[in-house]
């Protein structure tokens, strides 16, 4: 497993999700803290491209050996891409939570919501 890290270029939701915003599209995933709490991920159930996600509501399920957990959307929009590679390599969520472990890309409908997310320092302070 990778050592704990919380990159400066991401924004964080208090439910342990991150967003990387590039213009009006954001990539979502779960944080190092979330994957560590979850334990070894064995299954990722992705949403469908084209479906709507709402900030603060769950859009996918991730299963560890121990339990199933909801993945919460940090921002609102429409899913334009899902990480289909996770079907075969769900462990990427543990090994590389900010890289190969990304989950979906979302076209943002309310980009202003980003102001309500935490930066790296603020997120780490609440852990």
């Amino acid at each position: 497993m990778a050592p704990a890290s919380y990159p400066d270029d991401l924004l964080y939701h208090p439910d342990h999700d991150w967003a990387r915003i590039e213009d009006d599209v954001a990539t979502f995933g779960i944080t190092w803290f979330a994957q560590d709490a979850l334990g070894e991920v064995v299954f990722f159930d992705p949403p469908e491209v084209g479906s709507a996600v709402t900030a603060g509501e769950f859009y996918a399920e991730v299963e560890s050996v121990k339990a199933v957990s909801d993945v919460i959307a940090p921002l609102t929009g429409e899913i334009v891409e899902v990480n289909t590679a996770l079907a075969d390599t769900p462990e990427a969520i543990n090994e590389d939570p900010y890289g190969a472990g990304w989950m979906v890309r979302v076209k943002l409908s309310e980009p202003g919501q980003a102001d309500g997310l935490l930066d790296s320092d603020a997120y780490v302070a609440m852990l």
């Binding site: 070894e40 299954f43 159930d45 299963e63 050996v65 121990k66 199933v68």
Partner: protein, 365 residues
């Protein structure tokens, strides 16, 4: 995360030092996994050796001139067939045939038995045994505080245990006093993983030294997470999942540990269930496709999942479920409602993991 009311085993400090994740379990603060993770621990037990701290389990000593007759009355198995130095699996049933606990008993002497209970049931078991002891010349002693318990499991587990023992270890389903690193222990050829190995009942003060020594010799520390995936692959029952007072031994597939002719408490209900059949039956299943079913997920058209996980050895979702008896044959397909999504499953032969066909290949040359 922690609560002051949770009990801790003598190995608590060792678990903290090993970066274990500790969770509440049956009133105890227990390691669910160590830093290497559940899958690595699981694989260690399937291929080499793992050691589990199972000191949360309870112990009851039953002794006296009527000990055998008393246990014959309260345990489902034929206790007269348990020889000194032997081990026997049995159930405690209530008058309705519901299962109060499943447990291993070791006969230490002609008039002395040691029973290992499930942690969450221990106090109820002791009360139950005492409440049924009227008319028997027997003493029921709660000796849970006198024992720590380690399970050493895996293809080389016996070798590791032997290396610290003063004389040959007892075989499968046998138990004997041995000296381990100069400390007296009850060594039992039992386990809960489907692998060979031993369980060690120790003086709590001796447990840390023996634990450390087994780790030094190469045993992987394993938590309750791997214990659950290992037992589920070989379809051992877990009380609270497959077993409860709402289920009788026949529907749970445990008719083989019930000897109704002994007249044990609940035996008339068990006999009737055996003769007439039950509405539901416990089955093992594999998920056909992606996904994992979990305890409590309903089966479409009747039934319920009792345990489910991703099998580390098989790489598919597996579990156990109660199904309507007429749809419980191997090969039957059914659907499970997993949080609103239907997952296809198929009833599979037990054990789901068969060491001969699914086990690690021997290296040649």
């Amino acid at each position: 995360m922690t609560s002051p009311t949770l009990k801790r085993t003598p190995l608590y400090e060792a678990h903290v030092d090993a970066n274990a994740k500790l969770v509440p379990f049956g009133g105890w603060e227990m390691p669910i996994q160590y830093s290497s993770g559940i899958r690595a621990e699981h694989e260690a037990v399937r291929t080499r050796a793992g050691v589990f701290d199972v000191s949360h389990m309870g112990e009851v000593e039953i002794s006296g001139p009527d000990a055998e007759a008393f246990l014959q009355h309260v345990y489902s198995n034929d206790v007269t067939r348990l020889a000194v130095g032997g081990a026997q699996y049995a159930l405690i049933c209530n008058e309705d045939g519901g299962v109060l606990d499943d447990l291993f008993t070791y006969r230490l002497a002609p008039d002395r038995y040691l029973t290992v209970t499930n942690a969450a049931n221990h106090e109820r078991d002791v009360e139950w045994l005492r409440s049924q002891a009227g008319g028997f010349d027997v003493e029921v002693a709660d000796v849970a505080d006198s024992y720590a318990m380690l399970a050493v499991q895996g293809p080389v587990a016996r070798e590791l245990g032997q290396a610290i023992a003063d004389s040959p270890l007892p075989g499968r389903m046998q138990a004997a006093r041995r000296i381990l690193l100069g400390r007296e222990a009850l060594v039992c050829g039992t386990g809960y993983t489907g692998e060979d190995g031993v369980e060690l009942l120790l003086d709590p003060a001796d447990a840390p030294a023996i634990w450390e020594d087994l780790l030094r010799r190469g045993a992987t520390p394993c938590g309750l997470g791997a214990r659950d995936t290992l037992r589920l692959e070989v379809n051992f029952h877990l009380y609270g999942n497959e077993l409860s007072t709402d289920r009788n031994p026949i529907e749970a597939g445990l008719g083989w540990v019930c000897k109704e002719d002994t007249g044990f408490i609940g035996s008339d209900v068990v006999r009737r269930a055996r003769e007439e059949g039950t509405a539901q039956k416990l089955v093992a299943f594999k998920i056909d496709g992606p996904g994992i079913a979990r305890q409590g997920n309903p089966v479409v058209d009747g039934g319920e999942v009792t345990s489910g996980t991703m099998s580390p050895s098989l790489g598919v979702g597996i579990g156990m479920a109660y199904l309507p008896a007429e749809r419980a044959a191997v090969g039957e397909r059914f659907q499970i409602d997993v949080r609103g999504k239907l997952r296809s499953a198929v009833v599979a032969a037990r054990p789901l993991y068969d060491k001969e066909t699914d086990g690690p290949r021997q290296l040649s040359g």
